[in-house]
Each structure stands twice: as structure tokens, then as C-alpha cells.
Symmetry: C2
Subunit: 158 residues, 2 copies
DNA sequence: TATTGTTATACTCTATAACTATA
DNA sequence: TATAGTTATAGAGTATAACAATA
């Protein structure tokens, strides 16, 4: 057969799991997850709590339901995370004028400081993990993952 | 500020989780995992069982421990999976001449047939999921994920 | 001593379902 | 009736620790 796409003949038998994107996504994800566990998570912040805090800092006064939708997770799972963040003084629940059902989430000064520090730490770790790829490849990888995600909708189907 | 890497200014505030590779890897992985659940897994094959079967087909007479090492999972978790595959007539345990501790794993004719069918099915689904990326991008994505994985070692650190 | 397969166990993550108070 | 937050519960997925047989 003729010249197919280069990556297909890279290394592994086509028709094996090594040629499946899903499998390779999982393995790559595991590399990053494990590293996270050995660094940031030991400092008492789970990946989820981090993404939640980041979301709140990015959009102050966002409601819990909206955070859940944006991150593609369940509302119910958020409660404990917000509790924890609030207990740590990083976030507080505030009343929403005009809708007494909702709780708006506001980052504290400490929350701002904390997410900045964590993001820096994670970025440093990621730079390390990504060092096998050159800068162009790193940018491409990020670009394509984002493109995939946005093409499939930011929030999970309810 | 000057022109940085294109992907960095794509869409989201740099310094948010949307610019983290780990986060985007997870979200992309979730897209593929969810699709798998709604298709192949409903036909009675988990992602793990599939990767194990594929591995055995690719390397007949591989031992359980070696499968575990290659897939980056624990030996203990393999037992139930092999039991299941064996019960389904896709694989059988065989004695290893010269080492009575090991169990070599051999695919049956049915096992061959099954993994071929499943791989085809998964590839079709992946082609669909990947359609937002052009063929070159798809190849690049696969290439970089593989590169990452192999750079960080094929097996998880014990 | 180290390794293989195995079992039993525990833990993490996350989803589901049901409730309440609002709208 | 639908939505927000909450609670309790259950399930998947996976790791850890220990054990017997064998090297």
C-alpha cells in the first residue's frame, strides 16, 4: 500500500491499541495526573478543587450550577469541594440578589493568591513533562486538544 | 506583548486552567471514554479488557505480569479480566515450559476475530470524534501523544 | 530472596436519586 | 413545572497488602 499518514507507521502495528487515540490519550493523561498527585495534590489541592477555584477566580459571582456545567461535572460533587475551599478561606458563598436559590461564589484575596501560586507550580511541572516535545509541538498539542474539546461542547450532555 | 506561540492566545486567558495541558488532556480523554462507554462497552468489553486482549493477540504467550507492565496496570487487576476473557473463549491460560509460576496467555481464534471487530468499531468511532481535526492534525496529535508516552516510559514505575 | 498468580480489601472518584427551598 | 443547592448512596475503577507456589 502507498504512503499513508506518517504517524500511522510511526512505531506500532496499525490495528493495535497503540494506534488508537483514546488509548494514547488515557496514557498521556495518566502521566500528567500522576505527576499532579506527587506535587500539587500533596499540598492539599485536588485537580478538581483547583479547576473549580480557577473557574471562580476567572468568573466571580458564578453560581455553583454554572461552575458544574462549565467543568462538565455534577452539581452534587461540587458541594464538598466548595465546602473545602470555603473552609480554607479561598472562596466564599454569597447571596444572589433576585434569586434566593443560588449561591454565588466569590474568590477571596487568599484564593487569588493561591490559584496563582498553584498555576505557576503546575505550569512548571507541565513544562518539564512536555520537554520531550519541542515548543512548536507543545503548542500544536494544546491547540488540537482545545479544538477537540470545544468542537464537542464545553459542557457534558445532561 | 509580542507574538507568542499561536496556541497560547487561541481562546482562553493564559494563566487559567484552559491553558493547562493536563486539564485539556483529561477533557479530551473523557470525550473518548464516554463514547466508548456508549458503544463498545455496551457490547460487554471494557476498555481494559480490550487493551489486554489486544496485547495478547499482539504477543501470544505473553505472561500476565508482562501484560500488566506493558499496559501500566497492576498484576492483581488482571486476574478478573483474564478470567472474563477466558470464560468468553477469547483467551486461554497455558503452561510456560521452564517456569511453573507463570501463566502464558494465548488468544483463541475467536479472540482474534473479536479484537479485529472491536478495533474496527473503535476506529470508526474515533474517526468520527476526530472529524473536527483535519487528517494532518489527527496524525500530529497521535504522533505527539505517542512521543510523550514513550518518552516517559512505557510501564508505570513500580 | 525475588517473582508469579492470586485473593481480599480499601480507597478514590464520580454519578444517581431523592429531598427542600425557591422560582 | 423547573431549577439551585444539598445529602446520601452506590458503583466503577483501581491500588495495596498479603499469601502460596516456584524460581
Amino acid at each position: 500500500m502507498g504512503k499513508v499518514l506518517k504517524a500511522d507507521t510511526d512505531n506500532a502495528a496499525a490495528g493495535s491499541i497503540d494506534s488508537l487515540l483514546g488509548y494514547n490519550l488515557k496514557r498521556a493523561y495518566m502521566i500528567f495526573r500522576d505527576d499532579f498527585r506527587n506535587s500539587v495534590e500533596n499540598a492539599g489541592m485536588t485537580p478538581r478543587a483547583m479547576s473549580v477555584l480557577a473557574q471562580i477566580v476567572e468568573m466571580p459571582m458564578i453560581t455553583q450550577s454554572d461552575v458544574a456545567r462549565r467543568l462538565g461535572i455534577e452539581r452534587s460533587g461540587l458541594v464538598a469541594i466548595i465546602d473545602e475551599l470555603e473552609k480554607g478561606g479561598l472562596v466564599r458563598r454569597a447571596a444572589v440578589p433576585g434569586d434566593r436559590r443560588s449561591q454565588a461564589l466569590v474568590p477571596t484575596a487568599q484564593g487569588h493568591k493561591r490559584i496563582r501560586a498553584i498555576l505557576q507550580q503546575v505550569q512548571a511541572h507541565e513544562a518539564n513533562l512536555l520537554s520531550p516535545l519541542n515548543p512548536q509541538e507543545q503548542a500544536q498539542l494544546l491547540h488540537m486538544l482545545r479544538k477537540l474539546r470545544h468542537a464537542h461542547g464545553n459542557d457534558s450532555t445532561p
